[in-house]
């Protein structure tokens, strides 16, 4: 039987420098007021820089914020945000029908400061569990850590889990702090503009940093949906398979995500009243987006970027911006893309240049990020989206395990390293034994080398080209995320004279880069998901079931699903290639 579930957005909250609830934040946007200003704080960056950030003093009026003073700052912000959203609705957070989904890139990354080892609370699953436990959550929370698309991808994940009936309600919480860790990294990429960012403008030259925390609660329970029903009608993700930091030169990856999200939502081009894209105002991102919007035939649709108001709020951005879109629908106002003056992207898109009343029924929200990842969702008052077909399960085509200097394929030992090898020697030897020389390999961090090598053995002799460009989905879990490389970047930035953060290290401080590397090598442009959990078992409890959903729905012909983890010399990878049960 098909599941007839509709996903309603039922409650939300945004905390940023523009306010501590959705209304205050949306009011600022509609008044064309930015939160971006000059920050001069040597603890964050040696020179003054532009950013939007949360003022902790504004939160002191919140009893919950005061109560949680013994927790880490990001956890307190997340708890405060989620409490405010939960207070608007009758969701019982203790019910086993409710799942907490977190969207963050770096979590409690500040805890690495001055530390040789990784403190327990720096693991992303620990942050999620501490916040979820505060609300008495019955289920293990999920952490989606997929670079800048995390917030949109967390919603895509929620749509699927709810439509398939696995849960009735998802509490989606997103956030990242403004830290020296990320500022120094983006600065090393020369991605930060000296002026407030100018999305899609001819004179744009980079992004503005931002800080925010947001909560969106979605449910299939119509009694919680409120009077003006707003639905998450469809969503999708994709990979550019082009470069780990540079976006696609054609826009095809983002186009695939847009096309698939609109197909699930059963939305035509003429149904889309507004696009709220990622619009970071880096030269290449905005260029790529214009091409993707052109490929989708959406050039005429008003195009919004909210980065001029909030800056780039990283793990919060997809969620925070979705909530503003929901508020645009509720109030019937279309905002302008702040700081935009003159079109400077190759495809002639219709950038929103004035704030005013507009009938908004359906909005397309997109995001793109490092690792070549893209995601899109459709938010609508009239589209509820396709029903999901029943799940049929999957069969395993091949398996690959890497542990203890050995590689097994389908249960047989296929490579054994030397006893004296360290991880670097072992993995280089293992890769060389199966693959032609590959320039990119030596530049990768150890997590990527591990995952790429596992994928190499897993897919050996398999003809995956037959699946088509978007036919292979990549769903990977890990425990330590990118913490091994995070420690390296932290060490680099603790040297102040000379201060030389390295882009080649920083780019690997995101766990989903391992997917990007696999996608680039194998030209996989299908669905992507990077889950961070407390153990391999926790990943196994979620990912295979999620893969079956994608296969049943026809989003992928085959899935690479599994676990790859590396931290300070300890490693394990276990991947499976699966397909739908015939």
């Amino acid at each position: 039987m098909e599941s007839a579930k509709i996903v309603y957005a039922i409650a939300d909250n945004i905390i940023s420098g523009l306010g501590s609830d959705t209304t205050a934040n949306a009011d600022s946007v509609f008044a064309e007021k930015t939160g971006i200003g000059l920050v001069d704080d040597k603890r964050l960056y040696p020179e003054p820089f532009l950013a939007q950030h949360i003022n902790d003093n504004d939160l002191e009026e919140s009893a919950i914020y005061r109560q949680t003073a013994n927790m880490h700052r990001l956890e307190r912000l997340m708890i405060t945000s989620a409490s405010k959203a939960l207070s608007q609705t009758a969701v019982d957070t203790r019910s086993d029908n409710v799942v907490f989904i977190f969207s963050t890139t770096k979590g409690n990354i500040r805890l690495l400061e001055g530390s040789e080892k990784v403190p327990n609370d720096a693991f992303l699953d620990q942050l999620a569990k501490r916040v979820a436990n505060f609300f008495g959550a019955a289920n293990t929370p999920l952490v989606i850590s997929n670079a800048c698309i995390s917030g949109v991808l967390a919603q895509v994940t929620a749509i699927r889990l709810l439509k398939s009936g696995k849960y009735a309600t998802a509490v989606i919480i997103g956030g990242d702090e403004l830290t020296e860790f990320v500022i120094s990294g983006f600065e090393s990429f020369q991605s930060v503009s000296a002026k407030p960012c100018k999305p899609y403008d001819a004179n744009r030259d980079g992004l503005s940093m931002g800080e925010g925390v947001a909560t969106l609660i979605v449910s299939t329970d119509p009694s919680l949906a409120g009077e003006q029903r707003i639905m998450l009608a469809g969503g999708a993700s994709s990979n550019d398979a082009n470069h780990i930091s540079g976006p696609s030169r054609t826009g095809d990856g983002l186009f695939f995500a847009i096309q698939n999200a609109m197909a699930e939502a059963e939305a035509e081009i003429s149904d889309i009243d507004l696009i709220d894209a990622h619009g970071t105002a880096t030269p290449y991102n905005d260029e790529m987006e214009s091409k993707a919007i052109g490929l989708a035939g959406l050039n005429e649709v008003p195009l919004l970027s909210l980065k001029g108001y909030f800056g780039h709020t990283l793990g919060a951005s997809g969620l925070l911006e979705t909530i503003i879109c929901i508020e645009c629908i509720r109030r019937g106002i279309r905002p302008r893309t702040l700081n935009f003056e003159q079109l400077g992207v190759p495809v002639n898109v219709n950038v929103s240049t004035s704030t005013g009343p507009a009938k908004l029924r359906t909005i397309l929200k997109t995001a793109s990020g490092f690792g070549g990842c893209n995601a899109a969702i459709v938010i609508s008052t009239e589209k509820s989206g396709k029903l999901y077909p029943p799940e049929t399960g999957s069969t395993t085509i091949s398996t690959c395990t890497i542990a203890d200097k050995k590689i097994w394929r389908n249960g047989d030992t296929v490579y054994t390293g030397n006893d004296s090898d360290d991880f670097g020697q072992f993995i280089r030897g293992a890769f060389k034994a199966i693959a032609q020389p590959y320039m990119k390999f030596s530049k990768m961090d150890d997590l990527c080398k591990l995952a790429l090598t596992a994928a190499e053995y897993l897919t050996e002799g398999e003809n995956l080209a037959d699946c088509g460009e978007e036919g292979v989905a990549l769903l990977l879990g890990c425990r330590a995320s990118s913490l091994d490389t995070d420690l390296r970047h932290q060490k680099v930035i603790e040297v102040k004279e000379p201060y030389m953060p390295s882009p080649a290290i920083f780019v690997y401080t995101l766990a989903n880069i391992m997917q990007g590397e696999i996608c680039i090598r194998h030209k996989f442009k299908g669905e992507n998901l990077c889950l961070v959990a407390g153990s391999k078992e926790e990943c196994e409890n979620f990912l295979p079931g999620y893969a079956d959903l994608l296969l049943a729905e026809g989003r992928a012909k085959k899935c690479i699903v599994g676990y790859a983890d590396f931290l300070q010399g300890k490693y394990e990878a276990e991947l499976k290639l699966i397909e739908k049960k015939p």
Binding site: Q190, H243, G246, M439, S442, K443, P498, A504
Partner: protein
């Protein structure tokens, strides 16, 4: 100049993690970027900017200028000679 070129080759290999490459593999006149030659990318370009600052105290102010300077090992060596204090 020859010494500088050999030194640069080794620094590029070390700083850009080109494990499989030896200085002898690098033709100083060959393009560093694109499909031919070393096949470096945009992240490598940023690392090269840092390399010049770290070892030679030279800053490249404009990204556009970096593109010309980083054409080949020879062009980097010439730029260093012209700008080193």
């Amino acid at each position: 100049m020859d010494n500088l070129i050999e030194q640069l080759k080794q620094q590029i290999i070390d700083e850009l993690n080109l494990e499989e490459t030896t200085p002898a593999d690098i033709d100083p006149a060959a393009p560093l970027f694109g499909d031919k030659g070393l096949g470096l990318d945009s992240i490598d370009a940023l690392e090269l900017v840092m390399l010049l600052e770290k070892y030679y105290g030279i800053k490249i102010p404009e990204p556009k200028q970096a593109k010309e300077v980083f054409t080949s090992v020879n062009s980097i060596a010439e730029y260093i000679k012209a700008n080193k204090k």
